[in-house]
């Protein structure tokens, strides 16, 4: 019984640790290290996201996307001609005619989107 009481007393003594005089400085050092690690991680994630986005977009471009969109542009032109024959005054699909610009806009959007997606995935990991 006395043994158990002594063990409880010992646990209390261990738990009731004295406050060290440099406790605030210690906490600041830990917070600084946390902040440093966090900043480094964010840079790493950002760099990985951009690199992943560029690689992903380049893969898209390399996989004959350009030709496919050009073909889509040609189809749009054919469609426009067909529509213009049906309704000569309607010109709302004329924007599709410029296939090259569409490719580059799509590529830029793909880079941004893939970079964003990869960044989110890495952050979740």
């Amino acid at each position: 019984m006395a043994e158990v009481e002594f063990e409880r007393r010992l646990e209390r003594l261990f738990a009731d640790a004295p406050e060290l005089p440099d406790a605030a400085a210690f906490a600041s050092r830990v917070e600084r290290r946390l902040a440093t690690g966090w900043t480094a991680r964010r840079w790493l994630i950002g760099a990985a996201g951009v690199a992943g986005g560029v690689i992903g977009a380049s893969q898209l471009i390399m996989s004959n996307l350009f030709q496919r969109v050009e073909a889509a542009g040609d189809s749009a032109k054919a469609l426009q001609q067909g529509i213009s024959q049906l309704a000569p005054h309607e010109g709302w699909v004329s924007g599709f005619a410029d296939g090259g610009a569409v490719v580059w806009v799509a590529s830029a959007l793909a880079i941004v989107a893939m970079g964003f997606a990869l960044t989110r995935v890495i952050e979740e990991l």
């Binding site: 043994e3 002594f6 063990e7 007393r9 010992l10 646990e11 209390r12 003594l13 261990f14 738990a15 009731d16 640790a17 004295p18 406050e19 060290l20 005089p21 406790a23 605030a24 210690f26 906490a27 050092r29 830990v30 917070e31 290290r33 946390l34 902040a35 690690g37 966090w38």
Partner: protein, 193 residues
């Protein structure tokens, strides 16, 4: 603005702070470090670490705790959880630097430090100085970090019986050194903890 935020953190319970920290709020974790930093450093010193080494290990332990904060579910005290991380980190360091060898020796006739007068009230830190390194580590892990004998044996990579022997002898020495009313005298010597 930030002062107001810090004030609100200071009023939160450890579990709430841990929840904020898990959401990436570093200032909430900073408050936890402020609250329990001394306890963790004190534990490591009682295990036998020098002050600077104890601070290094404690810092690493808190960083590890932040990384793993989502694992803290609030079932036990936050301080106990970090202490266990710190104690294990210190043991890993001892293993790595091959300073743990003597702990495995179950020395029964180790020279004993001079026992203080029966009337002299000494605090726990003073009493711990009379223990061997093995006894100090084992007693601190079991009574300071809250590990069971089996967990301590596993962390120390020692047979369970050896750990129990170290703890038993350590307790006997502490019982002889700590005066009966030392709880109160120790509390009186503490700072604002």
């Amino acid at each position: 603005m930030s002062g107001a935020t810090n004030f609100s953190f200071a009023n939160l319970h450890d579990v709430e702070l841990a929840t904020h920290a898990a959401a990436g709020e570093r200032r909430a974790f900073g408050e936890l470090v402020r609250r329990h930093g001394s306890a963790v450093r004190g534990l490591l010193r009682r295990m036998g670490a020098q002050a600077s080494e104890a601070d290094d290990v404690a810092q690493d332990a808190f960083l590890t705790a932040f990384e793993r904060i989502a694992e803290f579910r609030g079932e036990g005290a936050f301080a106990g959880w970090v202490k266990r991380i710190a104690a294990r980190a210190y043991l890993r360091r001892l293993h790595k630097e091959r300073r743990l060898g003597p702990l495995a020796e179950d020395v029964a006739d180790e020279p004993d430090a001079a026992a203080p007068d029966a009337d002299a009230a000494i605090d726990l830190d003073e009493a711990m100085k009379g223990l061997s390194a093995a006894e100090r580590v084992c007693v601190t892990m079991c009574f300071g970090a809250g590990l069971s004998h089996a967990e301590a044996a596993e962390a120390l990579n020692l047979p369970l019986g050896t750990v129990k022997s170290h703890v038993k002898r350590g307790l006997e020495k502490l019982r002889a050194r700590l005066a009966p009313g030392d709880d109160a005298s120790l509390a009186g010597r503490r700072g604002n903890g």
